[in-house]
Symmetry: C2
Subunit: 560 residues, 2 copies
């Protein structure tokens, strides 16, 4: 048995051994139990599961202090952020209760029997049903809102799908604590045993996605780990959907009018956004296009000054700190080697962090199309070829990688010309670093945008009332972004009905969102009943049922 350590990233010390790594046999038992729970969990009905979600949220609140304490010890995210994250988590659980009570998510549709231009049509009634047990992989950077009690869990339970959690190695104690609270609350609320399960360890994660009882996977993490898990899924007799929220650059464009109007404000706010929580957000803006000229210079100076005021930041785990160091070294080398006309690479007065610079940039880091910087979202360095899934999964977890115990990251800013963007500047580097790309004309800007990978978000800063260039930028970004932001920052993803947290690869590998109410769609599948009598139909499809929105003979009707 290998113990799963809980490590304090501030000291690099192991505080406790949380659990043994889950064995293959144990994974099988847990998944089998989840499968047995699927029917009874669905049978709770929409109202029953809405009450369950309320009960889960209510059960977390009394443990707030303990949860925040353990999560802070494991992640160094700090009590303010973690209290906010727990509030978000409870709100999210309750919002999915509202989704259930509303019922529109079922897409209930009734076509009565009748004649059509193609002949007689039978009575057809369609709605969405639970997909079955879901594996949820926690994220390093959101120990609550994207982990055990997070959005994947809330949306899967709402859908009626039991959840088997893969605890992230970066916060196993937080994961275990939250799991115990949720499982106890579920039992008390009348949910079946097996509604929640948890596994620890990389091999257990691979066993989990390979298990025949698992019908879908929710994942937030690196492209490399995602590819490793996808390789496991490809070996299943039957494929299952894998919803991966992966890697995102999140470009920002400042128009000349915006720079003229509020250079200092944008500069300070941008610095705050990309260094928030040491830049460990999937929505961190990693690249900002600033016009050349005095207004843009003022903006860049404001960013530099804000960055210079910041000290080294404790990162989530040693693997992420190491990857960040490698990524920023690669960026530095790329910017220095490049044809950039700018020499104002801020070496600023930022104090050295104690993480060794280790000589020259590691030119030997393989460029395999996934990451030029080698920076990984979840602390597993992406040095392995992406196709070698099993090897990636056999690699020890972050803390035991060749890396300093604990680790900090120094906020960094690099500057290049938009006309000579090195590849390293167009990929996510997880941590408090951003690249300023100075642009001198729209053709150059548009060409640079055309070369960017898809992202979760794209942001435009414009002057009040300015529409021509912003509209053109929105048009160009829309095919490759999931959310278009105006005069704001991508960090901070509201949990809402209209939210979309997704985007084309490598942002995600799905057309669905992992934040907001429509995240439930991932864990549902349609079924049509043909010529079924009322007794054989789900309540929501019976003739007289009218308390949810339904489309009847082609016309959408609400309950109002």
């Amino acid at each position: 048995m290998t113990g799963v350590p809980s490590i304090d990233p501030r000291s690099g010390e192991t505080v406790e051994i949380v659990a043994d790594e889950t064995t293959t046999g144990q994974v099988d038992e847990i998944c089998t139990s989840a499968l047995a729970a699927a029917g009874p969990l669905e049978d709770l009905g929409r109202d029953g599961r809405a009450a369950l979600l309320d009960d889960l949220a209510a059960a977390l609140e009394p443990h707030r202090d303990r949860i925040v304490e353990v999560a802070d010890r494991e992640t160094a995210l700090g009590p303010v952020r973690l209290n906010g994250e727990l509030t978000r988590t409870c709100y999210q659980l309750r919002l999915f209760g509202e989704v259930l009570r509303d019922g529109g998510y079922l897409e209930a549709t009734v076509d009565h029997a009748g004649d059509t231009p193609m002949g007689p049509r039978p009575d057809l009634r369609r709605m969405l049903v639970p997909i079955g047990p879901v594996a949820v992989f926690g994220a390093s950077n959101f120990p609550l809102a994207f982990s055990v009690p997070g959005g994947d869990t809330a949306s899967a339970i709402a859908a009626g799908s039991p959840v088997v959690l893969k605890a992230h190695h970066s916060h196993p104690a937080t994961s275990q604590l939250c799991y115990q609270i949720l499982a106890a609350a579920a039992r008390k609320s009348g949910a079946p045993d097996g509604t929640f399960g948890i596994v620890h360890g990389l091999r257990a994660g691979a066993d989990l996605v390979a298990h025949p009882a698992i019908r879908a996977v929710g994942f937030t993490g690196s492209v490399t780990t995602a590819r490793a898990l996808l390789a496991v899924i490809e070996k299943r007799p039957e494929p299952i959907p894998f919803y991966g929220e992966l890697s995102s650059l999140n470009p920002v464009v400042v128009t000349p009018a915006a720079a003229a109007g509020r250079a200092e404000t944008i500069g300070a706010e941008f610095a705050a956004s990309f260094t928030l929580v040491a830049g460990q957000f999937c929505t961190k803006p990693g690249l900002i296009f600033v016009p050349t000229g005095p207004d843009g210079d003022r903006l860049v100076t404001a960013v530099e000054e804000a960055v210079a005021r910041l000290g080294p930041m404790v990162m989530l785990n040693a693997g992420i700190a190491t990857a960040y160091e490698r990524g920023t070294l690669a960026l530095q080398a790329a910017v220095a080697d490049g044809a950039s006309p700018h020499t104002d690479i801020p070496q600023a007065g930022v104090p050295h962090t104690g993480v060794p610079h280790a000589g020259v940039p590691q030119a030997g880091v393989p460029h395999h199309g996934v990451s030029h910087t080698g920076v990984s979202h979840d602390g597993v360095p992406s040095l392995l070829p992406p196709s070698d899934g099993d090897a990636a999964l056999k690699e020890p977890a972050g803390p035991t990688v060749d890396a300093p115990s604990g680790g900090t990251g120094r906020p960094r800013l690099f500057a290049v010309s938009a006309g000579a963007l090195p590849p390293e500047a167009t990929e996510e580097c997880f941590g408090p670093v951003a690249v300023v790309a100075r642009w001198s004309d729209e053709a150059q800007l548009f060409a640079a945008i055309a070369g960017l990978p898809p992202s979760l978000t794209a942001t435009v800063h414009r002057d009040a009332g300015e529409t021509v260039l912003p509209a053109e930028l929105a048009r160009r970004f829309r095919p490759t972004a999931g959310r278009l932001i105006f005069d704001g920052y991508p960090t901070g993803v509201a949990v809402a009905w209209a939210q979309h947290h997704g985007g084309p690869w490598p942002a995600t590998n799905t057309q669905h969102t992992s934040v907001g109410t429509s995240a439930i769609r991932r864990f549902l599948r349609p079924v049509t009943w043909q010529n079924a009598s009322a007794e054989l139909l789900p309540a929501e499809l019976r003739e007289e049922f009218d308390s949810i929105p339904r489309r009847i003979d082609g016309v959408l009707r609400t309950r109002l």
Copy 2:
């Protein structure tokens, strides 16, 4: 250049060379043109595309006689069926026009800025946008409704996505003719060049799904070809969704009460359903559970008698005929070898078809988990290991496989005990064959059902008012079926709002449908606009817009 032959399956003769196989360079040109058309096609708007779909339907009608003539010559499906299929095709195109005018498919959602328990929320507005150019692979068995002018095409064009068609080698002349009609009508209707493209040849199909401009694939065909195309997609730098409608057994259960009440009717109707169009439907019922005892005996006799009246049937192409012969031989051997207590395997008075029985069953057919019978949906024998994608794609198309020129299939019925179902009886065998599984008690029936693969459909025949056993059967089938049918037959898939034509693997590899209005969801992806002023928003998300259903601050509102 290799010519693409149009072959008459009745004679096995090549009637004409339709085109040259499309070269890699030509595929690139066609896909590039499709990408260029994406913006202008979207800019036509919902009303513009609805008019376009009406125009496409209207353009096909005047060519009805010619289309049916060419399609019949290539498929032998007969003018009655093909006229019906063209009617369905035109209806389908127009129905997607209704979907556009309704606008609910956009899932338009508005959350106004405001305070929430997690703090202030920005203004968020979400709707679905086109995914980009789509590759549509035609099916052998529906030269119109699931091919060039079919449901994938209609739903993709409705979504605003240009379509590049892969003509099926079984009906290239029909494909080319329909493409020319659609492309000319689109041009006349004001759609951009590149709205439609077409490619011929297996290699062109692989080039197509590998092309960076292609953003999604609609496919109807065999698991083997699907796996080969998925292997190509896995080699892309970025994965794209592949919507495969693949392989389906479509089990039917007859309750004792139903057998008692209408044994002869069900027997005759079942025989008609599984032999319709030589059993070449993805919804062909391949397995029927009939109770033991006199009522069940009467039912089976009725099936046998109906089958005995049928002569050999011309199949879609020589590859399918060969695979069918191999599949039925494998079934026959499995039934003969098995522990089946039944000796009433109908060797009936069915006349021999002239297709050689070729000695003993081919015991050497590899059992690789995809097909025990080696029968493929699209005429490419599934003899290749599924992981060997490139090899499968290098294999010559159906007509040049070692097989008789042209080919017929003799309707067959096999009988086994539900307690000893051989694997060959639980997999799709494309063609006019079915297996009768006699069941003696519910435990035996439920155990047999638990061993079946997922299917597009599951059917229950019950007595009027009987609910206990039908409800239990529905409960057991629901996790593995896309459509639950009562007192009917799975063949005949109505194009409707409430239709679902899908199901878990191997029925499909997606949670979406390929028939019915919600098929459009496959070719759309969500985008959220954050803090966008009215000028920067699509019309449907502007404040004053009210002519489509929208969810506003969590409440669904219709235009009524």
